[in-house]
Symmetry: D2
Subunit: 252 residues, 4 copies
């Protein structure tokens, strides 16, 4: 399981998004993309897994079932991400000092963040449809936790109650130990999943603009990084996926 970004994109995307020519594209082809719930079978048969980025995980988990069911359209998807500061690593940086971040909300890499093509590819792998995604991440004054807010147009014919979309998420994840689909009017809470491998998802519809709003919350260090890596290892070795991942969230 590679927890870096070396096997997450197609080889031809590396120059544009990471600034280098990929030196071993053959290994990209062998790697399974590791959102366990979506690509479990491929992961089980792989000897190399590309552990996903933090933002793509809740976005793909929330959007893939809706796209696959034809409830939303793949064009012009907007992803607005909010992340706690631990996603930025431990390097010293003026922007991550307490005095800078406390009381602040800061958009970054607005015109091009490298998780954009990863989100598109993850969704394409999961659904066969190639979406167009605009993604803007924001740093918020929290240590752990990511919340993603996804805006996608309802497909023609999808009713605006939100019920079919919630139903699609429920069916996709009803047997999943780490994914919890919330009811109408509930919003995912990163504190519920802090320190755990959990993911909370919710979907609402804005009827007047026929827009689905898909919300997701994870701990960026759990389901967004190390937790999902362990889950993938379990899947690769045929162990129960919950092995080593029994921790429930610690409301911080």
């Amino acid at each position: 399981v590679d927890v870096g970004a070396d096997f997450r994109l197609a080889a031809e995307d590396y120059p544009e998004w990471y600034g280098f020519e990929h030196p071993a594209p053959v290994w990209i082809d062998k790697a399974a993309y590791g959102i366990t719930e979506l690509f479990r079978e491929r992961i089980a048969g792989s000897s190399l897994v590309a552990n996903p980025g933090c933002y793509p995980t809740p976005v793909a988990l929330g959007l893939a079932p809706l796209l696959a069911a034809g409830l939303v359209t793949p064009e012009r998807i907007v992803v607005d991400g909010k992340s706690g500061v631990s996603g930025a690593g431990s390097a010293l940086d003026p922007r991550t000092q307490f005095a800078s971040l406390d009381g602040n909300v800061q958009a970054y890499r607005v015109s091009a963040h490298q998780h954009t093509p990863e989100i598109e590819l993850a969704l394409e792998l999961a659904t066969g449809l190639r979406p167009t995604v605009t993604f803007v991440p924001h740093l918020v004054p929290a240590v752990r936790g990511i919340v993603t807010t996804v805006y996608a147009s309802l497909a023609p014919g999808t009713e605006t109650s939100g019920t079919p979309l919630r139903q699609a998420l429920r069916e996709a994840y009803e047997d999943e130990p780490f994914v919890r689909v919330l009811g109408e009017g509930e919003a995912p809470n990163p504190k519920h999943v802090a320190g755990s491998n959990g993911c909370e998802l919710a979907v609402e519809v804005v009827a007047r603009s026929r827009t689905a709003v898909v919300l997701g919350a994870i701990d960026n260090l759990g389901k967004g990084a190390a937790g999902q890596a362990v889950q993938n290892l379990n899947a690769m070795f045929g162990l129960p996926e919950t092995e080593g991942l029994s921790a429930i969230g610690v409301y911080p």
Copy 2:
């Protein structure tokens, strides 16, 4: 200057968005909508000003010049709002307790927030174009400050460097004492305007999706409420708009 929401919308919108029949629609017609920079002349001639909501202010300030110049299209605009907790008032609420909000980012009123029609109306008043807006607000762990992230499609023909959009904002606000247009790669910072009547704006373009991302930051208690009310009073009485508003931001 009315600092509530009683004169912000058209009379016919009150039942849907505020749950009551407006009792005095004639006063709505007399009221000027109070984003001072956009509606200064109308405000100066009015005896009643509807002070705007906190979210609509940076959204309209950032988007109106781009719409008016035909650089972006009014269809399918997405507004993702992030607000500090003082916007929620001082009523005791489990969601605004420190233990609930610290480390949290919480979407609320996802399917219908009453600032949605206000944003649309403000933009229509300013540009003559009626946009369709999807607006989702989020509560973030901060006391003061609002950051708005607006996603709008570039109009056909608009080049993707971002330069024409920044230029349009610069021209609109070059003589304004309270609005600061940032350069490429800079993101508005609510700490820069805390305790003041200031507003920071920036715009970037995501070239691959031909999307303009318009960012705004204000102090929701300053330019988003009391500060703008004072600015409007100054405009109504022919005083310098900066009167009583000399405070610069206190980096909190």
Copy 3:
């Protein structure tokens, strides 16, 4: 195991500190005071355990070995406590709203906090010496965690290097799974023990005033409440004390 305060003090102290006559003093006599590391044997033989208050736990753990060894004197001990807000319970209160507590440090119950006699009694039970304690708690802008700073005079003859005091703490807790004694120059960190039953202790000496400064950190919801209750249950039933308490800290 009673997790309230009903059996923590002597019966005659309840009118002064809790405002009521204790209705069942016979049960107080039967109850063991439940700081497990200090009163393990008595707890194992009891059918009722008074689970300690959050502040007394790190104070007594840090001070008892020093008092018992005669390294510090029991007179005029000052305890300055800092607590996260979860110690205040979940009742709605203006002081625990995010907008009130963020950026704040607030002393409370300055002249008389009910943990004062509990600290004195715990130290007396552990050492046979009756100390005089002045205790002032403060609310800090954090959810979990308590840090206590204890000031005690060195006994005549105690050298001022700090080494004998650190040694006394190390010997007292070298076999304890939940107590970690830090080295010179290190300060206990409540983030290290968040979500766990751990306790970090350190001691330094201010030579010029011949004062020992004993620092402690716990999670007030862990070792300061539910964690210690489970540890006490384990001790009562002869189970390994770590049973059910395997969680390590989640750096929040």
Copy 4:
């Protein structure tokens, strides 16, 4: 007005507390120590003012009138300080990163902080009595603000109601524009003085240990640094001390 520490101590204290031999002790003798309310006359006649450290300011303001009136004794004074992170300057440091400080309370320089002799000297200059101070500072998760909690023994004969102590503070500061003495049961709040040159003081008595607890709150960047420097400049030049200091606190 020197805002560093170069003229705050006696020349002979520099080797021990700052690690260097003072190169110009003659200037120390010429410098006035700049807590304006306590040393106003000396400041007015000086051409060099040593602007005080942040911690000594609220400690000396709160304690000097009580010592001078003989209400508390100068022996064994304990000062427990809590400071927001801006007091640490803007240098990048792992301890001041958001992920380190959020949710944390961290004692530092426990055995010897250089503000200890400054507090003692300030009190001696103000009262003629030389106190012995034990001072431990703590970093708390806030940007601005200092709260100091001072523990001093009541002098023999001082009654324990707290009234004479509050009265002494009230008399000392009744005409001061920047110092506010709070009533019984009220605790100084750093949010009330954020962004301003204000100082809040309160005193309570713990009767059973005959200890006065003197609480102070300032903005470490205001009354604790730049604000007091401006106030001192005003005093030096015979201007109204409030000149340039009209800002009231911004509740952050």
